[in-house]
Symmetry: C2
Subunit: 410 residues, 2 copies
């Protein structure tokens, strides 16, 4: 028989180091945050700040982050809310990752969008697994009670028409058309299809289903998070707080980090590749990168810009690959292969052989087919992949399996 002291009830249900009301320093909460809403108002005595909620809660709060499982590779821009999620985990709370498989499996019901094609359950699960592999270095996967991964088809596939009508009845057309994006499209007379109005409500209903206390998202998510608050109120729950994070500028310092613009640092990229890209970040971006992507104190950064760039590269590589990876890079770990030995145009299978990664072009082809070959972290699956000129490959990292890499040089 266990006797539980009534004041230590939290420890009795959760052996993690839940810090309780001791954690009164909220610098971890505010770092890099654009907005937390709602803010308590003087006029409403019942309103409460997120800080007060965190300080007084008698249970771990549930912190929601929604994930779109349509893509595979993610980059440092995507890591920002995940890092904030980790900060909540470290403060003793529960990260609730929601895989938006329901929408991904439906695709675009108008059939007009190639981008939003319908994924099979298998594809969704593979993407979700890939996502989890990539955020594993960021999140606490191990402490019991700190991470919950949920697929939203669990509740959305059971939503019948009666419940859907109820969700829809909580909002007016005017409220929906006031939403950024819809407002401009309606004004420009670009068609808005009716099902698009359901997506914010579906995301909001996710908050109801997991009983979220806080939802994290980019600044473009404010409307959807507010819809979640309304739905939670409608279903008798305490509405969640919203915590909005900025979008990260890419390595070019000009546009939002994005795979299609090529200005990204992918979480799957070789440590050496990450190091190299981060060492070249324009000076005016460094403060944002340190604030959003590291926990280093911002008032103690090196004065010399080159030292700052180096520190950023070291710190981020360390996060994802450990200090030894940093040491190896700085000791010159990555073998180089000079493309001067190859006659172009050349097939990738031939380069795999020439570089010594494979024993023959035939083995190179097989490895490509098996999905074991990556270029700058991106999987290559077409055995006929070829390059017209060696300059296309300068500086890129060719990878075989998990552990074999060469950097391609002139």
């Amino acid at each position: 028989m266990t006797i539980t002291h009534p004041t230590s009830i939290l420890q009795s249900i959760d052996n993690s180091q839940y810090p309780n009301s001791m954690a009164q320093n909220f610098s971890w909460l505010h770092r890099g945050v654009v907005e937390i809403f709602p803010q308590p108002t003087d006029s409403d005595s019942e309103s409460e700040s997120l800080e007060k909620r965190l300080a007084t809660t008698d249970r771990p709060l549930r912190i929601k982050l929604g994930i779109d499982p349509t893509g595979a590779d993610i980059h440092l821009g995507h890591s920002i809310p995940v890092r904030k999620l980790r900060a909540f985990q470290d403060a003793g709370h529960t990260a609730v990752l929601i895989i938006g498989d329901f929408t991904a499996r439906i695709g675009d019901p108008t059939g007009k969008s190639d981008v939003r094609r319908q994924l099979t359950q298998q594809e969704v699960e593979a993407n979700a697994q890939t996502y989890l592999d990539q955020v594993r270095p960021i999140l606490d996967f191990d402490t019991p009670g700190r991470l919950e991964v949920r697929y939203n088809s669990e509740w959305l596939s059971k939503l019948d028409l009666g419940k859907t009508l109820e969700l829809l009845s909580t909002m007016t057309v005017g409220q929906m058309l006031a939403k950024e994006g819809f407002a401009e499209r309606y004004k420009r007379e670009n068609p808005i299809f009716l099902h698009e109005f359901l997506y914010p409500l579906m995301q909001g209903f996710d908050s109801v289903a997991v009983e979220a206390d806080v939802e994290l998202g980019g600044t473009d998510q404010k409307f959807n998070i507010a819809v979640g608050r309304d739905l939670q109120r409608h279903f008798g729950q305490k509405p969640q707080f919203g915590l909005l994070l900025p979008l990260l500028l890419g390595t070019d310092g000009l546009q939002k980090m994005s795979k299609s613009l090529g200005n990204y640092v992918g979480l799957r990229e070789h440590p050496s590749q990450k190091y190299q890209k981060l060492q070249g970040i324009p000076d005016h971006l460094l403060k944002d990168y340190f604030e959003l992507l590291t926990d280093l104190p911002l008032d103690k950064l090196p004065e010399n810009p080159r030292d700052r760039q180096k520190l950023l590269a070291q710190e981020i590589v360390r996060q994802y690959h450990g200090q030894s990876a940093v040491d190896n890079i700085e000791a010159g770990d990555l073998p180089e292969f000079s493309l001067s030995k190859v006659e172009f145009p050349a097939k990738l299978s031939y380069i795999l052989n020439a570089s010594g990664l494979c024993k023959s072009s035939g083995e190179g082809k097989r490895k490509i087919q098996e999905g074991g070959v990556r270029l700058d972290g991106d999987r290559i699956t077409d055995v006929d992949t070829a390059f017209q000129d060696k300059s296309e490959l300068y500086g890129r990292v060719l990878q075989l399996g998990k552990n074999k890499f060469v950097r391609l040089v002139p």
Copy 2:
């Protein structure tokens, strides 16, 4: 073994007098109709008129009429599309009556409307039964294959979120806001709740579910019937025709016939009451009433207005109650009870006794409680129902059970 001659295949599957391509006179189709759509266009060689479809079909067409089971008593205005449905039945086609029980059982999801309160399955079924009892004199209930009664919860309660998104994706916000009713409300900034956009799509999906060839409705139903066409096309069906019928003016000749305005003739009213009301129809309404509520040739009506009124009263009473009812009325069938014998204010239970319908006030109360008492066809359920002055009751018909009536006179 039965040998079926290939050209008589219809007769082999349906023993009803399906008239096939013989019924080439479509005066029955056009009588009293405001609009049939679509009309064939010269530019589209594939377009077909409803008349051509009727003349060439090799199977009975399916003629849809939706019924709202939230009310109980119906009036002559409601009978207009039902009469047209009968005309289709007589031409060999199948009437598909759709009881809109799904919406009735949900009620108003905003919870703001008292009018659209949620009905139980029992209430819906009782209302539907009452409806069917009232239209029984109009429709052909007996010929096999001529009538199908369906509850739309059969398919709507099974509609999952994926299918609902698909329905919504067939229309744009702009199309929906162009709908009469929505357009003005949006302009006036009166709130339109999102679920209201689903109702036309639900009605449209009813057409898909029953594979309607034609939908009947009032002129206010054009949009909804057109939505049904779009959805049928979306789901690979041939789109239905729409047939629009006018709204009937009430006995006052001023406003739409409506129970709340008191200018109606209820299908449940006593034949004598119907006769009396119809005999007083203003002359300028007579042509519409004859056209919409009878099959009499309009060019052979009596010249004298009083004769026309009488003919209308006779014809409609005959439709619902038979020629003998007309004869009885004209021979003075309805016993009268003079209210001069009653002291006012008076309870209805007392009047039931005084008039001889009940043997005591106590029995009167019991009969009211049991639901067996009607005044002008409306059931009275409050045992304490009382009247301040006898003039409130002049000319009204008090009914006990199915067969006992008195007309209350001064």
